[in-house]
Amino acid sequence: MNAIETKDLTKKYKTKTAVDALNLTVNEGELFSLLGVNGAGKTTTIRMLSCLSTPTSGEAYVNGKSCKDEKDEIKKIIGISPQDTAVADNLTVRENLDFMASVYYTDKAVINEKVDDIIRIFNLSEVENQKAKTLSGGWKRKLSIAMALISEPKVLFLDEPTLGLDVLARRELWHAIESLKGKMTIILTTHYMEEAEHLSDRIAIMISGKIKACGTVADLEELSGKKGLEEAFVAIAERGMSEDE
């Protein structure tokens, strides 16, 4: 079974088409990146797949469940870390995790176990009693991803997880994301080439709401005739934009 499958998935806002007849398949356990410039439709795609936005037309399935008709079922098996760090500012790191765990589980012992596990996995113990508003950007992002993972989702959506972070914080977050590879399906949006290259099993390049190319870094290099993901991306993006014009 595919973790993600879309068939002509489209999202229109009045006159603007944010996502245009997207056909996408993501395998179970894969780390799949959506790469594109600002306004390419990456976040809109993630929003539709995580049931935060209703498609204008087309179909989307997460673990075989329809994003139109089985939203409640999908919400039980996904985790999302939005672009902005969506944490409760006045709660400590532990309380934020406890709060998210309490949304999914009822047994206090299970909740405590989940919180302890995620604090250990993400090395959050040194800040666990610190209020979220006092954390640095890197720690906040880590907490945001940890909150998305507390329910042990089958599919994790990471919307530009390292946006605005310094290089060290970014590298640390990469390690955290890498440690999740294979344990769940991860859909990552980014416009950092090195991030997509470093983390992804496969990459889709989105331009103006359409996927212009999809495959491994080697596939994209071969398709564009360029060496390196950045060069391949630029070639594919420029070709894609001229086609649209």
């Binding site: 936005s53 209703t54 409640d72 919400k75 985790g79 939005p82 969506a86 709060f99 309490s102 999914y104």
Partner: protein
């Protein structure tokens, strides 16, 4: 049920850890209680003006305090909506009713304890100023203030859902001013009569203060307590349904 409990605990902690909530919801009403007591001491007995006497003032200030709980409800909702926090929560199995009850419940508890503190301060003032204040009446009033607390909280939820971080507090300020003045907290409309009294009676705030004051005095007659409290309960119910429906509709629109 676990979702409501988790979300209301989060909201309670968020508000109780914000120093501004203590300044507005507690310190300011208490300061007003003291100031108006001082004003009352300056009014000659012959004037026959008793609106600032502690047996009248205590319930009025308790209602006044609730208006700031409304403000903080609106601020909490707008803050959650303006960031990505609600987006994250929308992607969880939480339903719109989990959100609305989760917002309303902790505010009722905060308002409940706010009333207790205001009545304790009022009791101390009553001893200092040598005015009889019925303890039983105050205890009962803490309970009968709950419908008006729900009404104000639902106003806050409504404004927080419909407006942004800049306009929602502004609208709450209008309600605070209207309820202070036309709710007869700092003004005796019954003594004034005429068009002013008619305007006051056309708004729910008058009945919040009237029922709370009557309860403190253990006056449970139909015109001073029963009818006003029924009006407050009806308004609280209508606003509760309205704010929940608006939140649900807004959530649906956000997810469209």
């Amino acid at each position: 049920m676990n979702k409501i409990k988790a979300f209301s605990t989060r909201n309670r902690k968020e508000i109780l850890r914000d120093p501004l909530s203590y300044i507005f919801c507690l310190a300011f009403p208490l300061v007003m209680l003291i100031i108006m007591t001082v004003v009352n001491s300056s009014i000659p007995k012959q004037a026959g003006m008793t609106v600032f006497r502690i047996d009248n003032l205590s319930a009025g200030i308790a209602v006044f305090g609730q208006t700031f709980v409304m403000l903080f409800t609106a601020l909490t909702v707008t803050k959650d909506r303006s960031g990505s926090f609600l987006v994250r929560m929308y992607a969880t199995p939480m339903k719109s009713t989990d959100f609305t009850i989760g917002y309303i419940l902790p505010m009722i508890i905060i308002s409940f304890f706010q009333s207790i503190i205001i009545y304790i301060a009022s009791f101390i003032i009553s001893i200092i100023t040598d005015v009889d204040l019925n303890i039983g009446g105050m205890l009962l009033s803490i309970i009968t203030l709950i419908p008006s607390a729900i009404m104000f909280i639902c106003f806050g939820l409504l404004f927080g859902t419909l407006f942004n971080e800049k306009s929602a507090p502004g609208l709450c300020s209008i309600i605070i001013s209207l309820s202070s003045f036309l709710g007869c907290i700092f003004f005796d409309a019954d003594a004034t009569g005429g068009a002013m009294l008619k305007i006051c009676k056309a708004l729910p705030f008058y009945y919040c203060t009237k029922s709370a004051r009557s309860c403190v005095k253990l006056d449970f007659s139909s015109s001073t307590f029963i009818i006003p409290i029924i009006i407050v309960i009806v308004c609280a119910t209508v606003l509760g349904i309205l704010s929940s429906a608006v939140f649900k509709s807004k959530m649906k629109a956000d997810l469209s």
